[in-house]
């Protein structure tokens, strides 16, 4: 065994012996080349898009300054011609808080119009500059737009989840459902899970794993809610059916009483 290993370690007879440091130098050389090339590429890209970034900032700053000046000018001009008072005289008795007076609204609108214009001009300048630099292989900026889209999706989903959860909670409480909070939480998490899955899908993260996990979670929540509502709302359904039956029998004979009424005088809310 020792002979075999010794034979393997011996250099081949036709092979010239090479110095060990020569191989190391080549690796370092290649690494350095690769790093230089990468640095060059990134620097070139930055140099290519830098005018665009500067143009964006310049457009935004200049238009914002113009907006401030225009807003101040309009505010003073409208105050000088007593615009608010004239409008009140023409439109009648209107109550405006100082922060929401028409002249203030006009001035604010003009300022934000200028800012928006600056943004549009800046973005279009940046876009043109980026298009010229697109010859470089770069996937970071397009991905950033996906990230922005995902963040917007998350914000919208969270807002919608909260709105829906509140709607369900209030309706369920007014329908005398004991498990109102549970139902509301279930709906909220349904929407949040859906939003999370959509955001991940938009970012192209996870692939099939996210789809599977989403399916399992969504199905689980729906099943839980269905069981909870099905088992818990028997009373509600029977109450509703009784109320419909009573209503049908009383129709045309007497005005219906409120369902909340008990055995005394009927309660009529209207």
């Amino acid at each position: 065994m020792q002979n075999v290993i010794a034979t393997m370690l011996l250099p081949a007879p036709d092979q010239a012996p090479q110095p060990m440091y020569a191989g190391n130098a080549s690796i370092w050389h290649h690494m350095s080349d690769a790093l230089h090339q990468s640095l060059d590429r990134v620097l070139s890209l930055l140099i290519a898009i830098l005018p665009g970034i500067l143009a964006f900032i310049a457009a935004l700053v200049v238009l914002t300054l113009i907006g401030i000046a225009l807003s101040a000018l309009l505010r003073r001009g409208l105050a000088a011609i007593r615009f608010d008072e004239r409008l009140v005289r023409e439109r009648g008795n209107v109550d405006w808080a100082p922060s929401t007076s028409p002249s203030s609204l006009i001035a604010r609108a003009s300022f934000w119009c200028c800012v928006l214009l600056g943004l549009i001009i800046g973005v279009s300048a940046f876009d043109a500059s980026y298009a010229t630099a697109a010859t470089f292989t770069n996937s970071l900026l397009p991905y950033l737009t996906r990230v922005v889209g995902a963040v917007l999706l998350l914000i919208a989903g969270t807002l919608f989840a909260r709105f829906l959860a509140r709607s369900v909670l209030i309706e369920a409480v007014n329908a005398h459902l004991e498990y109102s909070r549970f139902l509301s939480l279930g709906i909220k998490w349904l929407v949040l899970v859906l939003t999370g899955a959509m955001a991940l899908d938009h970012l192209e993260i996870g692939g099939i794993v996210v789809e599977l996990a989403f399916g399992i979670l969504f199905g689980g929540i729906v099943l839980t809610l269905a069981l909870a509502v099905g088992l818990g709302s028997r009373d509600l359904v029977s109450r509703s059916l009784e109320s419909h039956a009573e209503h049908a029998s009383e129709r045309g004979l007497a005005p219906p009483a409120a369902p909340a009424a008990g055995h005394g005088d009927p309660i009529r809310h209207f």
Binding site: R166, L169, V173, N174, H176, S180, A260, G264, R268
Partner: protein, 398 residues
Amino acid sequence: MATADPVSDMTAQADHTGAGLLVLLAPMTQEQLQGMLAHLTASFPAESLLVFSPDALPPDSDPALRFAAVPATSTSWTLNAADFVNAYHLAEENKARAVLMLGPESSSLDLSALHSLAHAVLAAPTDLAVSCYDLPPYAGLVNSAILYPLTRALFASPVRYPLAPDICLSLRMAERLAGVAQRFTATNQADAPLWPVNEAAVAGFDIGQFDVGPRLQHQPTGPGLNTILPLVTGSLFADIDAKAAFWQRFRPFPAVHNAIATSHIHTGGASPDTTPMLQTFRLAYTNLQEIWSLVLPPSSLLGLKRLAATDGVAFRMPDSLWARIVYDFLLAYRLRTINRGHLLGALIPLYLAWVASHINITTSGSDTESHIEAVAAAFEAEKTYIVSRWRWPDRFNS
């Protein structure tokens, strides 16, 4: 009542010589219509009357009576924007001096009621004649809890039923209401209720209130309390918001022609079961804290906490607490603190708590009407609270 655009069809049928009183009727059965026409012809000369109804003319009615049928009618349980637009157009086309609008189940009204309403506008300088009904003790509770106290406190109007379905209008009052109503019909909200008393108060018109005795109250069919209460309170809150410049100024009680002969005293009788209402309130207290805490100041939340811990028979909501709750919801409606649908939905359990408290108070021997008057007085006393919070909403007064 009448729908949006039947005017052109009807004016062709009606005589153009000019009518003293134009009567606009809600849908009713043939027997009811016959009775109503008999009442009208007994109270007024047939020549001065012009009646519009969605139903066909009964065969044996007075031939001298000028009658025109209106097309399809809306199913609204109270007078709405489309009714006021139609009323004014018809009155203008027929040169009427007064418009008597009678809501569903108006056939149960007494003969003298129709006469006093119409006579007030035709003979006296009244622009708006409103009915005051003698209802059973636990009827019209939304009106007693919210509509009447708010209207009385903010618009200094003692009209007991601000949303009365039977009213009489002068031509200029009808014109003003039609102008307001057109804003709603133009935005496809023909079913929105209008607030004639508030309009008349802002315009400085004469308002008269007339005792019309008992009446069958037409209950909304289909949508229940959870739908109608937000609709009505939302409409009133929006109207109050639009007229803030008017009610924020101090005003003395105007001279309203109050033709109420007797105060309606209702005591005794079997009381309704308050348990379901209290259960709803307690359920809401455990679940809606998060939403209520966005709207109500800590002092009101503390009051609700004490209420939630109170047993059934001893359950009493202080009048000042109820007044502040309604004012805080009104303010949150104005500021859009939360979604307006959510806000008005969250008011329902609190309203039911007030109803339970009202029933307990009246069952324990208090007169129904005197409790309602006490609630209205509490709203008046707390008016400074809403005025100050309206101006400085960030301050939570203790």
